[in-house]
């Protein structure tokens, strides 16, 4: 009888410990940021030629992933659809300069290494980008360093810079 009670107590303790570990993992920065990257992959990828309206909707959805001081806007000039990202303090980052007659963009984040410290996080990841356009298929590997801020409980992208793996000479 005593032995049975001990087993029950041990089982309960193990379940509680597993629950706490799961809670920490689920709400931890690593999991939340990886989940955000997965959502970002889905939002930024498309498999149909985007119209200006479709691209605008995508840009509007993408805005949710970025810090409020980053403004995303769609511009169109003679059918050329451009996604511009602009910081309020006047400096400009152009993530994607143009989408023209593109039939597919597939983005995957691989080899993600996250370093999170109290409300701030930085990560290194490699974006594998596949673009199918009038010019054929283009595959790119873009090593990136992304910094995040936690605002109102949500992680948001603050900055994206490319990492130079091999310093090239041309």
């Amino acid at each position: 009888m005593v032995r049975k009670n001990v087993i029950v107590i041990i089982a309960l303790v193990l379940i509680i410990v597993a629950g706490i570990i799961f809670f920490w993992w689920w709400f931890g920065a690593d999991h939340q940021i990886k989940k955000l990257l997965n959502d970002l992959e889905a939002t930024a990828s498309f498999d149909q030629q985007p119209t200006l309206i479709a691209a605008s909707i995508k840009a509007e959805r993408l805005t949710n992933y970025f810090s409020p001081d980053i403004k995303l806007e769609i511009k169109s000039d003679d059918g050329l659809v451009e996604l511009h990202t602009t910081r309020r303090e006047e400096s400009k980052n152009y993530f994607l300069t143009s989408i023209q007659r593109v039939s597919l963009i597939d983005i995957q984040f691989l080899d993600t290494q996250i370093d999170a410290v109290s409300g701030r996080a930085s990560l290194e990841t490699t974006a594998r980008v596949k673009v199918l356009s009038d010019f054929g298929e283009t595959n790119m590997l873009l090593p990136l360093r992304i910094t995040f801020n936690r605002l109102s409980g949500n992680w948001q992208i603050q900055n994206v810079t490319s990492i130079e793996i091999i310093k090239r000479y041309r």
């Binding site: 080899d111 793996i165 091999i166």
Partner: protein, 154 residues
Amino acid sequence: MPTWRHITRIALVALAAWWFFSHVLVPIRISGQSMEPTYDNGGLNFINRTAYWRKNPSRGEVVGVSFTGQRLMLLKRIVGLPGESVSIVNGQVGINGQALNEPYVQTKKQSWQVPAVQLSNHEYFVIGDNRDTAQADHVFGTVGAERVVGKILW
């Protein structure tokens, strides 16, 4: 019916295999033409991560250069060692002003030009074996020692 002993053995073997193939011999599938004809596009191989535990990479060795983890790597040959000066004149690699003999380059050398680059104490100069491409299309240059993951197995 499998017993707990069998399940434990299978789990231990799986764990050991996972550890071995992620920390000792990392399997790779080669994608691209930059190391042809030595390594063809689509070929399978392994990166030996233990190769540089006791010694530093040597000239002529083919190594894996990591991006931001282990799933994606560049496969390149080391031609310049820390502290050396590397230059390329009309496709010919020079080390400290002396032409480097490269028997592994069997393609036509395009007239690449790189003025002398002085490597620091923790940098290597890496390049692919296929030199029959435009200079701008071939990824080569200096890489930090921390990015060299290991040596190709064969």
